[in-house]
Symmetry: C2
Subunit: 365 residues, 2 copies
């Protein structure tokens, strides 16, 4: 359907399944996080992997964010094409063809990329020299997540010294994602766990500075640790993404009082038994790796199972639901759920105010 006809629809008129944004809640989340970062030394560079949508990134920047993070080069290309000129790619870019795309993108904005390997750094430097740019890089440091990254301390210092010899690169700092710790609901426990890793990162920064290496950027943090890592001395920017939408996993964490701004609108397509209703959304529309999505505002209804295109609700006998009724589900993982959709239906006061294309959906390369 053309988007023009969807603006102005009431929630009940939207065809389902449809991903909804509560615009008031989204704006409050964006403003609340901006307010926090106006009061601490660290800056906010929100992760665009969550929303994958330029207009939301621009809204974040308008109230103080210093740019965005992306996980994929193609996401960064979408953001730059939308006019954003400061992007940190929190991941390694290693293929020759992608390195070409990376350094070309650096002609249109400040693009910073993570590196953790000398051969890749050399290849990136050579391509940058040929293209006539200096490619900004941060060293990814393994502070305990055991995914990518150079080991903290001396190995990072040795690696940094080698990078400084590469003419096409501009070493600007460190990336040390400590993990979101969404499994630690208690704030003090989460703080202890995150700061043990932040300490490794800042000790490594100190070693670099002792060796005379300037460290402009120390990037870390996530929604689950924004008010922990965001206050850790020396961390310069925070990568939080999910706070714009929130999900049922994040709201279990103490100290995170952002609002649900994202729901999946579904329709009851079958009501075969008193205790059962089936909605028109399954795993192709909402994810469950962090647990079942939550039914919004229907007392006595819980989502029991998700197959590919069906969601089966278990109902208490008092629940009055009929075929055609609309049900909203609150995702347990907003990032992977957004990844399944092409559009947001953005509501204010129950009416579609805008339909936004999720421009970086499918941008996986």
């Amino acid at each position: 359907m053309p988007e023009i006809s969807e603006t102005g629809l009431s929630k009940d008129e939207i065809e389902t399944p449809a991903l909804l944004i509560d615009l008031d809640a989204l704006e409050r989340n964006i403003n609340k996080m901006a307010d926090y970062f106006s009061k601490v030394e660290a800056s906010l560079r929100p992760h665009a992997k969550t929303h994958k949508t330029p207009i939301i990134a621009h809204k974040q920047i308008k109230v103080g964010a210093i740019g965005v993070c992306c996980q994929k080069l193609s996401e960064a290309e979408v953001m730059v094409a939308s006019g954003i000129d400061d992007v940190l790619i929190t991941n390694e870019v290693v293929n020759p063809s992608k390195i070409k795309r990376l350094v070309s993108l650096s002609k249109h904005g400040r693009i910073i990329v993570a590196v953790d390997d000398l051969e890749i750094a050399k290849a990136t430097s050579e391509t940058a020299v040929k293209t006539g740019v200096k490619q900004d890089v941060v060293i990814e440091v393994n502070v305990g997540l055991n995914r990518c990254g150079v080991e903290p301390g001396k190995p990072t210092v040795e690696f940094a010294k080698k990078l400084l010899k590469l003419k096409g690169l501009n070493l600007v700092g460190l990336l040390g994602y400590e993990g979101s710790f969404f499994n630690i609901s208690d704030f003090e426990e989460r703080k202890k766990a995150a700061n043990a890793r932040n300490k490794l990162l800042i000790e490594t920064r100190d070693l670099l500075e002792d060796a005379g290496i300037t460290v402009e950027i120390v990037s870390a943090g996530a929604t689950g640790t924004y008010n922990i890592t965001g206050e850790y001395p020396g961390i310069t920017e925070i990568e939080a993404g999910s706070y714009v939408f929130m999900d049922t996993t994040y709201t279990r964490l103490a100290g995170l009082d952002f609002e649900y701004a994202l729901t999946l609108l579904t329709t009851v397509i079958s009501r075969p038994a008193l205790e059962r209703a089936v909605v028109d959304a399954g795993l192709k529309e909402v994810t469950k790796e962090f647990g079942m999505p939550q039914v919004k505002d229907v007392e006595g209804a819980t989502l029991q199972s998700l197959s590919e295109e069906h969601g089966t609700l278990r109902l208490e006998k008092t629940v009055d639901l009929k075929i055609g009724d609309k049900i909203e589900l609150i995702p347990s993982h907003c990032c992977t759920t957004v990844n399944l959709h092409d559009k947001y239906y953005c509501l204010r006061d129950g009416v579609v105010e805008a339909v936004w294309n999720i421009a970086a959906r499918g941008k996986i390369r």
Copy 2:
């Protein structure tokens, strides 16, 4: 990138992550299933929810399939637009706006839809009359999956009698998906479980025929039961989908010797430790609700975890993998993995022979 430049690439030149089809394996799977159905009474109406791609549907039809199944009306619209004129929507369509789309689509082919509710049937009939078509319907019967569907036996007969009074509808039969039983690896056990449900469906058909109601179609079956339900007397067509690609879940089932035709090509982006490599694909590119995908052809490497955009491999010390190396993952669930992608890179003899758009990806409404 324009598709024209991707045809002719070698596997190593494809940017990753990328969904690959082994064309020889795909064609053997399609032909093997067609061969089976040339020898039994039931017909094959493959489920397009797996591949979501017209050209694959046409290949299935070319060797004997009688049409396709779809789960979503918008998938059916894609198939009809591609020239397919016999589609069974194995799901209920209930919203007034969708019912309009459904009956309009019926002007361009035979579209059969599942019904399990009288009010929806009435609304569908009225819209069909206004549009000047007879809308084909099958009654979805709950043979034990406890999702949608009328209860088998008398309730279905009573429902059928009411449907026959609706002028806009043409009742053509029954839909009774018995479940794929991918958790029962033993063939005889699976047969027992499936046939207990098939029995309910055929008994219900018998009751309808006793009441003078013609039953043209009795649709059931899946890849996991194609050679069980496909031989059950009275079942007229089978809904198998996954056999075209297969996945690690289905290959655990005895009696299913289709080949892996779908893999996810990834690149090693980090090799931070002897026992660890990280590839550039995570939950946004491959699903894990049925278990971890399997590493193809790399002895001693197993996929240990999937985060959003990273896959972490655990390596035995003998494994020689370096950054930039390509690794293929075999999905544990082909249908939900395909749902994450926009394109197939179709290979023969290691070279890209075609790039196919997954035209019905994102067609969720």
